[in-house]
């Protein structure tokens, strides 16, 4: 009997050791009670100093929302989240895939939570390819009256006007003659380089798709999806010189209905600005553009000084207000085409396309001063705080977004070290 039990126990252990999926049982505060080897393999690369005693601590820098979800889950038991995606690395397009994990959390009772962790890196990659095809089909099959269609020459100059364009954008034939297709986009949402990029990307991929603000003749904006594809001859070869078709679709309505979903996966739950995942996604695209056509690309790593002290002195609610305030200042200090994001904890990032190191330092200084000069009230306390910033820019030694961020982080560390409330430029990167 005992022998049977022993061998059953051993088989169960072996079953758990070998299970190719991550299983973790933890307490309500994230303290890990049981964890199988597969989980350890997935989590160790991101665990600060290899500590796997608390899941929330392990993930606090890259997925602070997990702890939040658990704390806010008031029911006695039930599913807290289903396959919540967490991005670990930006990856190097074409070489190394961006790494993603999915977390499913199940509350068993007041002090027991089960976590199922899976590596969805490949799934995400495939899904993205599918999304692109789907975008194409959407563009082709939905009612044509919602679209503006134009043809562009090799330089992106609008060649042919048609009535669909007038219907959607109100531009008339004379308005568009000899104009660049940039006419359809607000100035702060695009620039000459970006317009050219889109044509090049259409050449390389067969299409280029973008959701962005678009412009009507009267200056009013609408949220639109625009797709550019190279025109081909009867043998499906691109024309020489190249010509393109441009289709713009008004998706204001679609946007409202899907806004919440997009917000949930791409926006930080607290501050409402982009999250780490959205940041890596955009940064990845920008870096690829840089590789094809080098031009300035800079990154700021911004961190609130003495944030833990603010939290300890005034409470977490005040800390949250500081993060919101900081997000607002960041958003107000950059252009629409730049992206600012909360990368985790009190660290923020800003990606500045077509901005060189010098320009980025100016923006960083502006942010630093705005914050140092600001004060605001929470619960009757006047709060003042400062930020430290590290600035990096892409050069030929930078291999990817991860490295660009690392350089900015190192510079940020120097800012902290030299007394905070300052901006430091990354040392020249050497490969």
């Amino acid at each position: 009997m005992i022998e049977d039990l022993k061998s059953d126990y051993e088989s169960l252990l072996q079953f758990m050791y070998m299970a190719p999926v991550g299983l973790v049982q933890m307490q309500a505060d994230g303290h890990i009670v049981m964890i199988n080897p597969y989980s350890a393999n997935l989590l160790l690369p991101i665990a600060p100093s290899g500590d796997l005693s608390n899941l929330f601590t392990t993930l606090e820098d890259i997925a602070p929302e997990l702890q939040n979800l658990c704390t806010n889950f008031t029911k006695k038991r039930g599913q807290i989240c289903d396959s919540l995606r967490v991005q670990l690395t930006a990856g190097i397009p074409g070489k190394k895939d961006a790494k993603f994990l999915a977390f499913t959390l199940l509350k068993l009772d007041m002090d027991r939570i089960m976590a199922v962790i899976t590596d969805i890196t490949l799934l995400v990659k495939r899904e993205r390819q599918l999304q692109h095809s789907e975008a194409w089909f959407n563009a082709i099959f939905t009612d044509v009256s919602e679209y503006a269609i134009a043809s562009l020459d090799s330089e992106g100059i609008i060649e042919r006007w048609n009535v669909s364009m007038q219907r959607l954008t109100k531009f008339e034939e004379l308005d568009v003659e000899g104009q660049s297709y940039g006419l359809f986009f607000p100035e702060d949402a695009t620039n000459q380089e970006r317009l050219k990029d889109r044509l090049m990307e259409a050449d390389q991929n067969g299409w280029d798709l973008l959701e962005s603000w678009c412009l009507r003749k009267d200056g009013s904006r609408f949220w639109g999806s625009s797709i550019i594809s190279p025109l081909v001859d009867a043998y499906r070869e691109p024309l020489d010189p190249a010509r393109y078709s441009l289709i713009i679709r008004d998706i204001d309505e679609k946007r409202t209905s899907t806004e919440d979903i997009i917000k949930a996966s791409f926006n930080d739950h607290l501050t409402g600005i982009s999250n780490r995942r959205a940041f890596f996604e955009v940064a990845g695209v920008e870096f690829e553009r840089w590789k094809k056509r080098p031009r300035p690309l800079s990154l700021l790593a911004i961190d609130a000084d003495y944030f833990k002290k603010i939290n300890d002195t005034y409470g977490h609610a005040t800390g949250d207000e500081v993060l919101k305030h900081l997000s607002q200042i960041l958003q107000d200090s950059v252009r629409t085409m730049d992206i600012v994001a909360r990368l985790g904890g009190e660290e923020f990032g800003a990606l500045l396309p077509s901005t060189d190191l010098e320009g980025a330092v100016k923006i960083a200084e502006r942010i630093r001063t705005s914050i140092a000069e600001a004060e605001f009230k929470v619960d009757g306390h006047i709060i003042r705080y400062t930020v430290s910033i590290g600035v990096s820019a892409v050069d030929e030694h930078v291999t990817g977004v991860d490295m660009l961020l690392k350089l900015a982080d190192d510079a940020l560390y120097v800012s902290k070290h030299q007394g905070r409330n300052r901006v430091t430029t990354a040392a020249k990167s050497v490969s």
């Binding site: 758990m16 050791y17 890990i32 199988n36 597969y38 350890a40 393999n41 290899g50």
Partner: protein, 127 residues
């Protein structure tokens, strides 16, 4: 006979010469495996820590079925590289193992040498 410890010099040679009985008396885990990753040595201490019997482990694949948590660039990769390049490996590192599903801090010592019949992972509990 000299006392054999986790940090004894030339530990690989010493283990290679040790009788099964003495191997099983050691106060740290010893796993010996061939260049294909097949487990050939598994001492009593290690068996006690993992809950796996000697019979179920011997001749099993170390990194896929016995200790999948070491199947990464920190451990498995280093052995692979050492074997491929026919160089010596002797490295001590901090690691977390999931012994009986409990996260456990350990020190690992990775030993491989062209002159040794087996590669060794030595496991010492840190706490």
């Amino acid at each position: 006979m000299n006392q054999i410890n986790f940090d004894t010099q030339n530990l690989g040679q010493a283990l290679n010469l040790l009788s099964n009985e003495l191997l099983n008396a050691l106060e740290f885990g010893v796993i010996g495996f061939d260049d294909e990753g097949i487990v050939k040595v598994y001492n009593a201490y290690e068996s006690k820590m993992t809950g796996l019997s000697l019979e179920s482990v011997i001749d099993a694949d170390l990194f896929s079925t016995v200790a999948p948590c070491m199947n990464n660039f920190l451990v498995a990769q280093k052995f692979e590289d050492a074997v491929d390049e026919k160089v010596e490996l002797d490295e001590i590192m901090d690691f977390v193992l999931t012994l009986k599903m409990k996260p456990t801090r350990v020190k690992l010592r990775l030993i491989s040498a062209p002159t040794l019949p087996y590669n060794y992972v030595i496991i010492l509990r840190s706490n």
